[in-house]
């Protein structure tokens, strides 16, 4: 005899994210954990698959021991630089964090009554900074909209039935954590997993319901740089002034100016030295609200082939959110000089809403305080 009730599959994750060299953190300004997950329905099971994407902003720390690092590093380590789509420094000089945690959960079809009610929610998350280049993240996740099945007391339970149940339990939740295959110095590991609350047997063996954990190469951050075909490049002129013609092909007059930048630099006007960032991020010049721009920034779609679209980069860097399918949790770390009003304005919220979400009794926040930013919960998953 089965007892049905709406239920939630909850589990926790605990991960450590190491940023690349040169991305040390002085302080974290905001963090957001957002599920980017698709739900696929097969005949016998439903797969909840995708990434939990950690994004945020931090104030980069000073390069501690940069000289020493340089001294110890090989030449190739010293001079390597980032691809344009790897650049994660915002226009205000803040570092940007983006790290996907792959999630893959398989649920028997029979445990889901209505696919439209399946949501993946981040119920809470917190972080710690054990070292300058590391963020330790802990999050509680919930998959809602499932049907709980609880067997009646074991009076009719045969040995066979129990075996079957155990087998079913084992295949019930398969959590596949895809190992991050990004840079060698970026690691994270799967540490914690809790079986669904409703399925935790009241008696024992909670630990026995272990998820199957396996690694597979993540295509997520496949570098587009690898896409250059060797053949095509034999014909690609790429440096110097390409418009100039070769001498033997046509007669040209001899007064080209190949060193335009040399001249530019020698014609420098006497201007007061400007602070790089001050100039670089002149808001009045560019008329952009940087905060907004940052929030709208989104990574390229997975496995987008490089040559598919000539405007790839533009799309990658300019992409806006296209439909939020899952609820997300966002937090903000109050910076010096910020008030609850400024934060509420930034996120286009009412102060009262922000206070309610954070259980605040007064309209006062302090530097370093963490505020949870309420976000909309939109549509459910599509199959």
């Amino acid at each position: 005899m089965a007892n049905e009730q709406a239920s939630t599959l909850s589990f926790s994750i605990q991960e450590a994210v190491w940023l690349n060299r040169g991305q040390e953190i002085d302080s974290v300004m905001s963090l957001e954990l957002e599920p980017e997950i698709a739900i696929e329905e097969a005949e016998e099971h439903v797969t909840v698959k995708g990434n939990l994407v950690l994004t945020g902003e931090y104030r980069p720390g000073k390069e501690v021991d940069a000289t020493q690092q340089q001294r110890n590093a090989s030449l190739s380590e010293q001079v390597s630089f980032r691809s344009i789509d790897e650049v994660r420094i915002s226009e205000e000089g803040h570092g940007e964090i983006r790290h996907p945690f792959p999630i893959d959960v398989t649920i028997p079809r029979s445990r889901i009554s209505n696919l439209d009610e399946v949501y993946v929610n981040v119920e809470s998350f917190d972080y710690d900074l054990p070292g300058n280049g590391c963020i330790e993240l802990q999050a509680d996740l919930a998959i809602t909209g499932m049907r709980g099945e609880f067997n009646a007391p074991a009076n009719e339970d045969s040995e066979e039935n129990r075996d079957e149940e155990e087998e079913e339990e084992e295949e019930y939740v398969e959590k596949v954590v895809t190992e991050d295959d990004l840079d060698g110095d970026r690691t994270f590991h799967f540490e914690g997993f809790r079986p669904p609350e409703w399925q935790q047997p009241p008696q024992q063996e909670a630990e026995e319901v272990e998820p199957a954990v396996r690694s597979e190469p993540a295509a997520e951050e496949q570098k587009i740089s690898n896409g250059t075909s060797e053949k095509q490049a034999w014909q690609s002129p790429s440096y110097e002034q390409q418009e100039e013609q070769q001498e033997p092909l046509s007669a040209v007059s001899g007064n080209e100016q190949p060193h335009a930048y040399d001249q530019a630099s020698s014609e420098e006007e006497e201007e007061p030295a400007e602070d790089l960032y001050a100039m670089r991020y002149e808001e009045e010049t560019f008329g952009q609200e940087e905060e907004e721009e940052y929030e709208e920034y989104e990574e390229p779609a997975e496995e987008q082939p490089r040559d598919e679209n000539a405007l790839y980069l533009t799309k990658v860097l300019a992409n806006n959110d296209e439909g939020e399918e899952f609820s997300r949790l966002r937090m903000c770390i109050v910076q010096a000089g910020e008030s609850i009003e400024t934060i509420a304005n930034r996120y286009k919220l009412q102060v009262s809403h922000l206070m309610r979400t954070n259980n605040l009794n007064e309209e006062r926040v302090e530097e370093g305080q963490i505020l949870y930013i309420p976000t909309r919960k939109t549509s459910s998953a599509s199959s």
Binding site: Q70, S74, L75, S76, Q78, V79, S80, F81, R82, S83, I84, V87, I89, S90, E91, G93, S225, T228, E230, A233, W234, S236, P237, S238, Y239, E240, E244, Q246, E247, P248, L249, S250, A251, V252, S253, G254, E256, Q257, P258, H259, A260, Y261, D262, A264, S265, E268, E274, L276, M279, R280, F286, G287, Q288, E293, L311, Y312, L313, T314, L317, A318
Partner: protein, 307 residues
């Protein structure tokens, strides 16, 4: 006497017809290209340069064809001109790296002895980068501006990395005819025929770095290493030269060039700007993989020496 008749007489051709009037003519000794020189000093430098390279017997080059009187240039009513063979078949570098490497090493060797020009090493500063962005119209497409500003940060970082590498003294840098691309290599009778550009001589390795970058993009990392090993085998270039090449490859020339082009395209043409950004992206990636492969190769050389 017309220009053509003058040319035929001066160079001793019995047959000669314009293919492109004033530029290219067909003679009984093949197709010849006319190069006019507004700057006599530049012409003299190139005569000297090509003769010096030619004397090393590295490969065939587009040297100045001598007149019937043995002169390398001809003065007519329009000024000075020189005449050159035209070769259009492109050289295939694959498995013939040594031929091209001999030219590159030989050009550097000649360049180290070529003195007496006003050529200066091209210089890029952070201010140049910032100015290039500053010059963009204020109504530039916000997406374009956003990408440019994000890239500026990394361009500055690239420049910073370049500046940490040891620089050679100005007087020790070679002065060479700038490399313009793989297409400079042509093939005639199964041999490499090198077409020098005839541009203003360049001090340093900027264009050589660009050439190697292009080579790397075409031949891949493996091909590049073979090519570098071949160049190195001539023992013309030392580690300090290689570090100079690396410096030049690190300097984000493509960023500033793109910003300039976007400025010229104007704010009302964002589509053009997007395409320019795409081009920059490709070149940036080419620089990135070249810098990595080249620096690893230098690391490898250091290890060999240490062992």
């Amino acid at each position: 006497m017309g220009e053509l008749e003058h040319l035929k007489a001066a160079y001793g051709f019995t047959k000669g017809d314009w293919i492109v009037p004033g530029e290219k003519l067909n003679t009984e000794r093949g197709i010849k290209v006319v190069r006019r020189w507004a700057n006599t000093q530049l012409m003299n430098w190139h005569i000297q340069w090509r003769e010096s390279v030619d004397n090393r017997g590295l490969c065939l080059i587009n040297r100045m064809i001598r007149t019937a009187d043995g002169d390398m240039a001809l003065l007519d009513t329009k000024g000075w001109l020189t005449l050159h063979d035209e070769v259009t078949s492109l050289f295939s570098y694959e498995n013939r790296e040594r031929d091209a490497a001999a030219l590159v090493a030989g050009a550097a060797a000649v360049g180290m002895k070529m003195k007496g020009t006003d050529a200066k090493r091209p210089v890029m500063t952070e201010k140049c980068l910032l100015d290039a962005v500053k010059k963009l119209p204020s109504d530039t497409d916000p997406v374009v501006m956003s990408i440019i500003k994000k890239t500026l940060t990394e361009a500055v970082a690239r420049l910073g990395k370049a500046e940490t590498l040891p620089a050679m003294a100005e007087e020790d840098l070679p002065v060479m005819d700038p490399f313009t691309g793989l297409a400079q290599g042509r093939e005639v009778y199964g041999q490499l025929f090198w077409t020098f550009s005839g541009r203003e001589p360049e001090k340093g390795f900027r264009s050589m770095a660009g050439f190697l970058k292009e080579y790397s993009g075409a031949a891949g990392k493996k091909g590049l290493i073979v090519f570098l090993d071949e160049i190195d085998s001539f023992e013309v270039l030392s580690e300090e030269h290689y570090l100079e090449i690396l410096r030049e490859a690190l300097v984000p020339w493509e960023f500033i060039r793109t910003a300039d082009k976007i400025e010229k395209a104007g704010a009302k043409n964002p589509e053009k700007a997007y395409l320019l950004l795409e081009e920059m992206y490709k070149e940036w990636e080419q620089s990135r993989s070249f810098v990595l492969a080249f620096s690893e190769w230098v690391d490898g050389k250091r290890e060999k020496v240490a062992n």
